[in-house]
Symmetry: C2
Subunit: 723 residues, 2 copies
């Protein structure tokens, strides 16, 4: 290969939607832009977002490719690439699959934060497998999936893309994601036609940017990075992830895309990762701020360990960079080998035009609904106001109650009308007497709808108030060059680029909440949101469903009515206010009495979630290398407890965290039934502790409950021990 | 020396006020507690706070030692110690001198944050010298002084003890402190009888605890620690500081008191520090959380590099720790040698009972007032409402207007009635027609006084509203074992242990502000405070004086009336709200568009402060190793501009900060006058940059102004260069 051809393999410069246009007959034709790009590099390394549809790309149902036509479009583009590559090298088609494939007719899943609330890696693995199959059936190859960002500051608009605040929970779900999408094959082996190599994003520490500011700096030290932000990545690498995406933010003073210590020293040398590193969009070009120009920025990124660029100019000059001695040809060759190897593993050299079998869309919907049901989390339930008593007259109120549009989260393709189920749809389908009023919009302070809502509440036995935020992008949204939202019109209050200092919902929603509670009618607040918001805990019951996806309304209604048990548990601490941030259960253990004007404790703790029954936890036993505890259903309904194993370090060479999640098990119990849950001791994050380290374990229903739970006898590590 | 005697030299277990009591005849007698302590260790290493007076110690004018009797009390205790020590070793008397000696009749200076606002190391050096002389004249030896904490989170109640958010400013003031208190002698040489060895506190990174929570954990990385939190300590060590205090918080996972990498690796080996390391109060015992017991905690701290403990039990068992092999006798001997060496340098073996000459109290008052005047910072001055026009009728309003009690800050001894000057006192002395109403209290929501304030404002030409917070401890305050405030009664809203999540003043103060502004009378807001608070910028003029000390009212009045120029400049960024924290001018340079609901920029920038005249800055010139700029007074009054040199890194191996303060010079200019200010290039923090680093410099009146100021030509480091 020539230097130019090699350079071409490392580039992914085009927006995929610029590669084609629809013809009047409903087919596709390729654009001059694609022709020029293919000619420039005598081929094409990778193409981003060929099937992407959303407000930013401008692709919708009239201009894009639905489920049927995807493979045809991919075929057309691939044939052009192969025929214009001297060596006949096919392109990688790289697609966003954050919670389902972000393409027209892709099955939308709940966002990661909702998946985190489900605490169910097995279910998520099946859903991820379905999403990968959809991607491959439409001609896509590689799935970009957020998994590694840890939600440490709810002001960040991308909190919804995180599995939560905890490294252990994120690590288990990341493993499930990799297994689900890639299948369990021999390491480095070929991918089945319904499996997709996954690019885990973002590597690393992006959840810790200062002030929750999107892609800003991180002051984080290496120790915090390793303890909190890297375990999910390490677990994903161990599970065989094909690729990771190097993040925008810096780690220890250097942006990840230019950070050789991170991308090569840690990832490849220490962890033994042999996959691909892709840069985040335009992240390589940003390095020009410290190198002086984009050519040297590209050289720095390649030398640091980036193999494949996204949209940057810097990587298009790698030929020049090698010739000028800014980076070695050996580094270039290594990166090219990694790109080609992924194409080999996908079988593209044997069958460049293949598309996998289409998975059953009914199964996709069922999986999405099951994930939504698992995510619904009951935080408060005074006097057993839930589940709804049979025959109750219900006022269903609030801006989220009657629409599916804002249940979906960021990185979602336009939906066909009629897709999904709102809470209103779901309740009405059950035949229940529901009086509905929106009350107010998600944003703004228009209070004119509130009297109707008050009237509805006053005339009902129960008010269900569905409040929250939205990451729904509209054509009015303006975007940065990398697709992050820039200015906010309409009702968007969350999502990439939409950081929120005060964590407040639209002001009218607070007025609506106060007014409905003041009627005296027992009130249930349901929050649909992409991050924790500050909402007064004044209603009789409080649930959060995060962004539960298209069929979230059904999941919420099932829980309200008691047709499903509330099994969600908080994957993040819910703060009382933005002023008390940061709030995490796994803070370092210091005695802190609180602020003068506020507590330092969260409103609701990590791991918290009520059931419709109650459970008693017996004292935990340390037996060999297993912790066991007996759990009894002490209520009158069948229910599920999510037993959480927490580790507490007693004697340790570094200052300990208050608690560290070390395992979890869901247990279904009939009334009066007792079962023993067992946690293997060494199944945690496998961090080695030095000899003489002393730890104890607690088993509880939440982190807060664990603070006062009875511990096991202590365990002393006799030698360097992975825990 | 026996192991027990050595152990005794490293202990400072007693509260000094428990060592004595006043006799009915006005003299002193020693307590059984002192007898027992001296007997236990056959001597006494050090005694903390013999002269301390405040609500926590319970020492006041009837029970403690005023200026006259201090030396007598010290003599009495010292004689007992020497006579009960087998080897006749005298004790160190260690005292709090945070802003003047915290003893009855000590001259109170403005708090460090006000000193930071003065940007005048020369003036501070003279004030520090005075404080040291007062300490020595009363028989005290060693001064505990905050200097190293960098104000990175205004929620922290100890923000008032910081010189500000910037490492360069803090480093220059720390040097001034060390020079002023210790004098400029040969390194390691004896101290003059009016000079005091200083314990710089706290080492290190205490300003970066998570959430501004007092002595909580820090997630800070080593890079941030070195760039922001260590330069002041390094400057203090280079200036010859006799001692540092190891902080409560952790650095890189280990509390500073048990952090050998920090106390020995960095401080002693890399920086060459040969002085004493004292632990913060009870910080050694806290290590038992990770070692298992207090004996091993003491051993860990000694091994890490702590020489002298404060109040801990852990250090009393060092004899046992050595015998059990937990720490070497060599480590014990090293620490003892450091304690004895400090006693030698103080001349205690020659003259254990000496006290220095009493400095002139008038000079002390003048220095305190001068520091206060330097601190008054004019942030806004619409339509030149200030200085006050001659003949104006003034309504002087607000809870701070007529009292000195809350001008003083934390760590202040009880004052004799009549000490100090409130704003009301000062204005009335000038013969100006002042109408005064308090309006409301500092805390609470009692609005009953507001109508009187409105009436006063309405009947006046100008309303001056003196608002703010208070760190004044009262007998009702409850304290932790280390003297940090625990629960807050009365009007205390700041100080050690008094962290404030929301940064809000008492709610009635906002109502008062709104009501007074609404009268239409031009309103000047003066803030007296120990941290930035969130105050709407709605008045015509805004000043902050921080806690300006007893004569702060005079300084404020002088500035209001134009008798003094406003020369203070902000040592911290003023945030718009707690929700947008952190806010620093020297953040890393990332393009961030702001939150959806708030700006990410401060309300008023670091370095900002208006004058009563105006200045024009010419383009800066890089000439050899000097940056020069011409500054012209373009207004009609004489005035002082504080020219600030900022460095901006262009080509660099780590991601750069937006700006870094690199020098400052105050320039007094007559109307129309132009002068050239010159900044030597290598006088910054002397951090070595690698060859090829490219930087530029800007000269401006604030960090915000520097963002758009014309730069010098760029400077390329030809080799490893200290900048």
């Amino acid at each position: 290969m020539t230097l130019g051809e090699k350079t071409g393999q490392l580039n992914q410069r085009m927006y995929g939607w610029d590669a084609y246009r629809r013809t009047p007959d409903g087919g596709f034709e390729l654009t001059d832009a694609l022709h020029a790009e293919t000619e420039r590099f005598a081929g094409l390394g990778a193409l981003y977002g060929l099937l992407r549809a959303d407000a930013w790309s401008g692709v919708g149902h009239t201009t894009g490719s639905g489920a049927e036509a995807g493979a045809e479009l991919a075929h057309l583009v691939q044939r052009h690439v192969v025929e214009h590559s001297r060596l006949g090298i096919p392109a990688l088609f790289v697609e966003e699959v954050p919670h389902g494939h972000m393409a027209l007719d892709g099955t939308v899943l709940p966002v990661n934060l909702a998946v985190g609330a489900g605490w169910d890696p097995g279910l998520y693995e099946r859903a991820a497998a379905h999403a990968a199959a959809e991607l491959r059936a439409r001609g896509g190859h590689v799935a970009l999936v957020p998994a590694l960002d840890i939600a440490r500051d709810p002001r960040w608009g991308r909190t919804e893309e995180c599995f939560g605040e905890d490294p252990y929970l994120a690590a288990r779900l990341t493993e499930a994601l990799v297994r689900g999408m890639q299948g369990e094959r021999e390491p480095g082996g070929p991918f089945a036609p319904d499996k997709a190599p996954v690019v885990l994003k973002h590597f690393a520490g992006q959840g810790a940017t200062v002030g929750g500011r999107n892609s800003a700096e991180s002051e984080l030290g290496l120790r915090e990075l390793h303890e909190i932000h890297l375990p999910a990545a390490h677990a994903g690498v161990r599970a065989g992830a094909a690729a990771v995406m190097a993040a925008y933010n810096e780690a220890d003073g250097m942006p990840c895309c230019g950070n050789r210590a991170l991308l090569t020293g840690l990832l490849r040398h220490r962890w033994g990762f042999d996959g691909l590193v892709m840069a985040d969009g335009l992240a390589v070009d940003r390095l020009a701020r410290v190198t002086g120009d984009k050519v040297s920025a590209g050289a720095l990124a390649l030398d640091a360990g980036v193999d494949l660029s996204l949209w940057d100019e810097g990587f298009t000059h790698l030929e020049e960079a090698v010739e000028r001695g800014l980076v070695s040809e050996q580094a270039l060759d290594q990166a090219v080998a990694r790109v080609l190897r992924l194409k080999f593993r996908l079988g593209l050299f044997e069958q460049p035009y293949g598309a996998g079998p289409f998975p059953d869309p009914v199964v996709g919907r069922e999986l999405s609904t099951a994930l939504a049901r698992a995510a619904v989390t009951l935080l408060r339930n005074d006097h057993g106001v839930l589940p709804v008593s049979p025959g109750s007259r219900i006022a269903l109120l609030g801006p989220h109650a009657g629409t599916v549009a804002h249940q979906l989260g960021d990185y979602t393709a336009p939906q066909r009308p009629g897709t999904g189920t709102s809470v209103l749809d779901a309740l009405r389908r059950t035949g229940i007497d529901v009086r509905h009023a929106k009350g107010c919009a998600l944003t703004g302070d228009d209070l004119t709808g509130i009297p109707e809502a008050i009237a509805g509440a006053a005339a009902s036995d129960l008010a269900v108030l569905v409040l929250g935020g939205s990451s729904a992008r509209t054509p009015g949204t303006e975007f940065d060059a990398n697709g992050a939202a820039r200015t906010v019109l309409s009702e968007m209050t969350c999502g990439e680029g939409v950081d929120l200092a005060g964590l407040r919902l639209g002001e009218a929603q607070y007025a609506l909440l106060d007014a409905v509670v003041a009627t005296g009618t027992p009130t249930v607040v349901v929050l649909i949101q992409g991050r924790p918001h500050v909402v007064p805990d004044t209603a009789a019951a409080l649930l959060t469903a995060w962004y539960p996806g298209p069929w979230g309304g059904e999941a919420i209604a099932d829980v309200l009515l008691g047709l499903a048990e509330p099994v969600g548990r908080l994957p993040v601490s819910l703060p009382r206010s933005a002023a008390q941030l940061p709030v995490h259960y796994n803070r370092k253990e210091t005695e802190y009495g609180g602020y003068v004007d506020d507590s330092a404790e969260p409103l609701h703790s990590f791991g918290h979630g009520l059931s419709y029954t109650s459970f008693a936890y017996g004292p935990p036993r340390l037996s060999g290398h297993t912790v066991e505890a007996d759990i009894t259903n002490t209520g009158r309904r069948r229910g599920r407890s999510v037993a959480q194993l927490y580790l507490r370090r007693l004697r340790t060479p570094v200052w300990p965290r208050a608690l560290e999640l070390h395992g979890f098990r869901a247990v279904d119990l009939a009334p009066g039934e007792t079962r023993t849950v067992a946690f293997p001791l060494r199944a945690g994050l496998r961090t080695a502790v030095p000899p003489g380290t002393v730890v104890e374990f607690r088993v509880a229903e939440s982190a807060r409950a664990a603070l006062t739970a009875v511990p096991t006898q202590s365990f002393t590590a006799p030698e360097e021990t992975p825990l």
